[in-house]
């Protein structure tokens, strides 16, 4: 028990030295990304993409399901680019250019990518 506590303490202490980029843990990023993904007034990705997360409610199917992301996007930057501007790959895409049109901030896009990359 004491060992666990001191390990925890060490982890927290080490975080005190984290730079601004890592100030947010991956877990927090995923939580934020998840909120954005499912929130109608934010990313609203759920209106077009199903995802097998228990919070999923009334998913749309205009776009493909978010599944096997790591296999299909070994290069994460390509995934981020798709989210940032879907019209680069398909000018007629119904998918809004989330980054290009400032629908989400760059940090929010990172969070959403972090979230979908688990699936």
């Amino acid at each position: 028990m004491r060992r666990l506590r001191s390990t925890l303490w060490a982890m927290m202490a080490s975080c005190a030295f984290c730079g601004p980029v890592t100030a947010v843990t991956q877990e927090e990023m995923i939580r934020l990304g998840r909120d954005i993904y499912h929130d109608k007034s934010r990313g609203n990705c759920i209106s077009c993409h199903n995802i097998s997360d228990p919070v999923t409610n009334l998913p749309g199917n205009q776009g493909p399901m978010m599944i096997a992301m790591k296999q299909r996007y070994p290069d994460r930057r390509k995934l981020r680019a798709q989210v940032w501007d879907a019209t680069a790959a398909n000018p007629l895409s119904i998918m809004p250019p989330v980054g290009k049109h400032w629908i989400l901030s760059e940090d929010e896009i990172d969070a959403v990518v972090e979230y979908i990359y688990q699936y």
């Binding site: 749309g60 205009q62 493909p64 809004p96 250019p97 400032w102």
Partner: protein, 296 residues
């Protein structure tokens, strides 16, 4: 579950590609004949749109497209059939008839402003007005009739104007839309072209065109909403919409859909919306008038 999703994904990807190719070729066709006034061909556009839907929903007869999403989605159709057992616009229709037949203060009435006393003429609207050099809609002429006879114009989106328009549509049920684009006035063709461009242009923060949802996206879920086919869009207007809880005009619907793209909506009866209606109704030529309608 997972494997079926995977299958679904592949199917969707294949069909999306096919669809966007079809769209690209359609747009190219439009560019070839249509983005220039000299070469735009409304009749070819209309037939291409019909072909698109014949391919996409092969079992749906052409005349069914007057029923919007209910023509192509069996589940929605079931709920709608139940709704239509007592059509929610019945009271509005009665009131519309009474309003239509109530004389103005000067003793004249709506019947005096329209061809054939205003009965059975819905299928000719909107039309190109050569003298004024603009597209005229039925609602617009209802208000002009009032103003010419010393009455105040009615608000455009809901209430009495929608009821009067509903009655006038009702007297035209079964007549087939026959929108003309007079060949000897290039401005008419330009108006059609402007409406067509509006329909296919992406707009708003969400970068959506009408075609994104009502062509590519017809009968594909956006969250819990299913956009219907663009073919037949205007035939049943005005519409009693359960979401509104009342009857409303086509331009009220345009305003809502326009806002869905996160752009500032244009006002009802604006030049751009009248041209959009001209384009959309021309696309529905040959389909019967079935207004007023009821929608979810």
């Amino acid at each position: 579950m997972k494997s079926s999703c995977r299958v679904f994904m592949h199917v969707r990807r294949g069909s999306l590609l096919a669809l966007s190719l079809m769209l690209v070729s359609q747009v190219m066709l439009a560019a070839e004949t249509g983005t220039q006034l000299q070469r735009v061909d409304p009749e070819a556009d209309r037939l291409a749109l019909q072909q698109y839907y014949l391919k996409r929903f092969p079992h749906v007869p052409m005349d069914e497209y007057v029923n919007g999403i209910y023509a192509v989605d069996a589940d929605s159709r079931k709920q709608w059939d139940a709704l239509m057992a007592f059509p929610p616009y019945e009271f509005d229709l009665e009131e519309g008839e009474a309003l239509f037949n109530t004389p103005f203060a000067n003793g004249k009435g709506y019947g005096d402003c329209f061809e054939n006393g205003g009965i059975g003429i819905r299928h000719q609207y909107p039309y190109w007005n050569r003298e004024e050099g603009t597209v005229k809609t039925l609602e617009q002429e209802i208000n002009e009739c009032r103003v010419e006879n010393g009455e105040a114009p009615l608000p455009w989106k809901r209430g009495d104007i929608a009821k009067i328009s509903a009655y006038m549509a009702f007297t035209s049920r079964g007549k087939r839309f026959a929108i003309q684009i007079p060949e000897d006035d290039p401005r008419a063709l330009q108006a059609y072209l402007d409406g067509k461009k509006f329909f296919y242009s992406k707009r708003g923060q969400l970068n959506l065109s009408c075609a994104n949802c009502h062509l590519q996206g017809s009968r594909i879920l956006i969250r819990a909403d299913l956009p219907g086919p663009a073919l037949g869009h205007p035939t049943h207007f005005p519409v009693f919409r359960s979401k509104w809880g009342e009857i409303g005009t086509l331009h009220r619907r345009y305003e809502g859909c326009h806002r869905d793209t996160r752009s500032v909506p244009l006002p009802p009866q604006s030049d751009a919306f009248r041209k959009l209606e001209y384009f959309q109704t021309y696309m529905s030529n040959g389909l019967p008038v079935n207004g007023p309608g009821a929608r979810k």
